[in-house]
Amino acid sequence: MRKLMKNVSHLVLPISVMVLLIIINLVKGADYFTITMINGALYGNIPNILFGASELVILSIGMTLVTAASRGQDISIGESATISSAVFVWFVLRSGEATPVTIIVGFLLSCVVGLGLGAFNGILVSIFKVQPMVASLILFTGGRSIAFMIDGKLSPILANDISNRIGTVIPGIPIQTPVILTVVFIALFAVLLKTTTLRLYVETVGINPNAARLNGINPKKVIFLTFLIMGFCSAVAGFIAVNKAGRHDSVNLLKNIMMDAILAVAIGGNSLGGGTFSITGSIIGAYTIEMLNRTLLRLEIEPAMIKVFKAIFIVILMVVASPVVRDFIKKVLDRNRTRKEE
């Protein structure tokens, strides 16, 4: 039992926030957990959270790796997703008919684009040693304009059967497709971590790049790889988002999702300063953030104020993680300990 407790101790933070939110929701209305079946699919507060957080979960996984290896965050994930999904939509529309083949090829094309964008950021960070947040500032500022141009300066509509099914439900399956896709993605990722030394390399580079190098690991390659993965995650997230929406709105697609992703990683118990990481934590963190968003809406707080709350939340997390505060807490604890011993 103790061993189990130790293994999940890093998940205490996201789980406790989630529990808190559940309590608040139950107070607001005891019917929080009810699930109904509409048109052969499950709906309800919990299923809706799973549905709504799909893109965020995938992005948070990528963000976790980037943060762990390069000790910084990628703020262009929304813009990256917008560009790659713009390419997807462009391809599908110009192919005329939307068949499973065109959708799949379109998806693969958008993944290539995503990898390219990830490489762009990755080169800046690994070779030119620019801080991730500033390197990704370039795509953050210009990304949506580029996507808009790919869209032909419109907001193209993606209305076909397959997209519909990807975006909502496949008839006969009670769980919404995005949720299934997310689960598949998580599973594939778990396999990746199990069959490669990615975790060890990323954590070592994040903790001590010098020592990593002296043991034969190339920190540049590892950091570059994490950005490639992030690019891929953005592409997948963009794919889901655009199929959900039914049209490609390059101004608003996944707007400001980077804040939620950073929060998800932090709430997941991961240090924003890099090093050891927990994907499980980030996944729980992502669902928690989605729950937080919906709870705030349910409590009838204005959408605009939600931004304010989240900004304050990030600041509080950063304060708690700051070295100055950490040292202070350590000193206080040491003082109490010596006082007890006296």
Binding site: N210, A211, L214, G216, N218, G275, T276
Partner: protein
């Protein structure tokens, strides 16, 4: 002459150290890395709190809580790294942070600066940007600032490391001028000739303890070196070194010709044979660490040829070296060695895992097996193999890193100061291990500031001084005396 005395026993870094500085005296403070010199200075200047002891200034006990306080009481410090702002002018650097006047009077400041520069013979203009001055001049400006603040005690921490001969002489002129004015100077350096040229007295520290205070004129260089590098008595009579078998001498395991690196290593040759343990002797700054790092390609290699078992190979990155069976235990355990947040187990399997590759991760069971094996073999004291390595003591951390290398298929292991900052028991264990490994056919390089450790384990010693190899000792010539002499004179006695 009024005595300015400071005496304090203290912290683990400093154990009952006494120190006395007299007015108008240039006093050299010497000792290897980790001997306690910087700690002593930081305690004097208020950066650190002393645990015990007494500091007096002109007979009055003092207690500084910050470098500012020390400065205000007449103690000026010039650090090894220039603590000035390169983007400000010379005059600004001399006067900024000293007055509380809200408005800067440029004319007055420049005039005052010009006067000060002239009086000390510093070739710089008050209005030029500091970055345009050479390092030597920048250092002199830092000293000028300290002097202008009416310091009565000037601490110079390794001021000559980046200076050439002429610049060193200029610095010494300045120091003599200050000495004539009655300023007491503490001069930290590892350059022996400079110590003998300029200092009046020498204090030697070793392992945090005071070895002694001596008048420079009465301490021959050989004795000084022995006091800095000599050992404490330990029961190590059971250690008998391994002499390489004659049949193993043939094609060397590793050979480097003209190897140079970006870390200031000038082209040098190096050879080592199977079952041989060689050491590098020399004082701090002699270039030993840099040389072995060049062998491992830890620093950027800028030239030279490397051969393994006679075959020419390319070693440009640590990974190449590792793949060819070379291991390196770094001098800076914390910065270059341990991955502090990872477990003991992960730290042990790290390099072997890298050798296996990205797509063949060890299962938890396999990793556990390796970890347990070496925890037992090397007697590593850790609660579990899952414990983060940062909770272990220095000695045990070192053993973990050793385990990491021994797990791989090593032919040649480089150990750079493996016994520094470690308890005596583990020190002996490591030395015995080195001999055992050599007997098993491994080649090793063992660097230590404690000459006796190397004498006990090495069959051959390469002596370095001022970043050059000055000689090699083996067999009957391998005595402490011979080593000291070679360091002192660059030749055999």
């Amino acid at each position: 002459m009024k005595d300015i005395s400071k005496s304090f026993p203290g912290v683990k870094a400093l154990d009952g150290v006494d120190f006395k500085l007299r007015e108008g005296e240039i006093h050299a403070l010497m000792g290897e890395n980790g001997a306690g010199k910087s700690t002593l200075i930081k305690v004097i200047t208020g950066v650190y709190e002393k645990d015990a002891g007494l500091i007096t200034l002109h007979g009055k006990p003092i207690h500084f809580r910050s470098p500012q306080e020390a400065q205000n009481n007449g103690i000026g410090t010039v650090y090894q790294e220039i603590m000035l702002c390169p983007n400000l002018t010379v005059a600004e650097n001399m006067f900024i942070g000293r007055s509380h006047a809200p408005i800067v009077n440029w004319k007055e400041m420049n005039e005052k600066a010009a006067r000060l520069l002239d009086s000390l013979g510093i070739p710089a203009s008050p209005i030029q940007e500091l970055s345009t001055c050479s390092i030597a001049v920048q250092q002199m400006i830092a000293i000028a600032r300290a002097v202008d603040m009416d310091c009565r005690i000037l601490i110079l921490d390794e001021p000559t490391s980046s200076l050439d001969e002429d610049e060193v002489q200029k610095l010494f002129e300045l120091m003599r001028a200050l000495k004539a004015q009655g300023v007491g100077i503490i001069f930290i350096t590892h350059f022996l000739e400079q110590v003998y040229e300029i200092s009046d007295r020498i204090t030697v520290l070793r392992n945090g303890k005071l070895i002694g205070e001596y008048k420079t004129s009465s301490l021959p260089q050989i004795e000084l070196i022995s006091k800095m590098l000599g050992s404490e008595l330990e029961d190590i009579s059971t250690i008998r070194k391994h002499e390489p078998v004659a049949s193993d001498a043939g094609i060397p395991v590793f050979e480097a010709v003209g190897l140079s690196s970006a870390a200031g290593v000038r082209p040098f040759d190096f050879t080592i044979h199977k079952g041989e343990v060689n050491g590098f002797a020399g004082l701090l700054g002699s270039g030993r660490s840099e040389s072995v790092r060049a062998i491992f390609a830890a620093d950027k290699v800028t030239g030279g040829e490397v051969r393994i078992h006679g075959k020419r190979v390319k070693i440009k990155t640590p990974l190449h070296a590792i793949k060819h069976g070379i291991g390196y235990l770094p001098e800076d355990r914390k910065g270059d060695g341990i991955i502090e947040d990872l477990s003991v187990r992960d730290n042990i399997i790290l390099t072997l895992q890298v050798l296996k590759g990205l797509f063949k991760p060890f299962s938890l069971k396999e990793a556990e097996k390796f970890a347990e094996e070496y925890i037992k073999k090397l007697n590593i004291k850790t609660p579990t193999s899952n414990t983060p390595i940062r909770s272990l003591s220095g000695g045990n951390q070192q053993k973990v890193i050793l385990a990491r290398w021994l797990l791989t298929n090593l032919e040649y292991l480089i150990l750079d100061e493996p016994t520094r900052g470690i308890d005596v028991g583990t020190k002996v264990e490591i030395q015995k291990l080195v001999i055992r490994l050599a007997s098993g056919g491994m080649s090793l390089t063992f660097i230590s500031s404690e000459i006796d450790e190397m004498l006990r384990t090495c069959s051959r010693l390469i002596v370095m001084k001022d970043r050059e190899i000055v000689g090699e000792l083996r067999g009957t010539d391998l005595t402490e005396n011979d080593v000291m002499h070679m360091i002192a004179q660059g030749g055999k006695s």
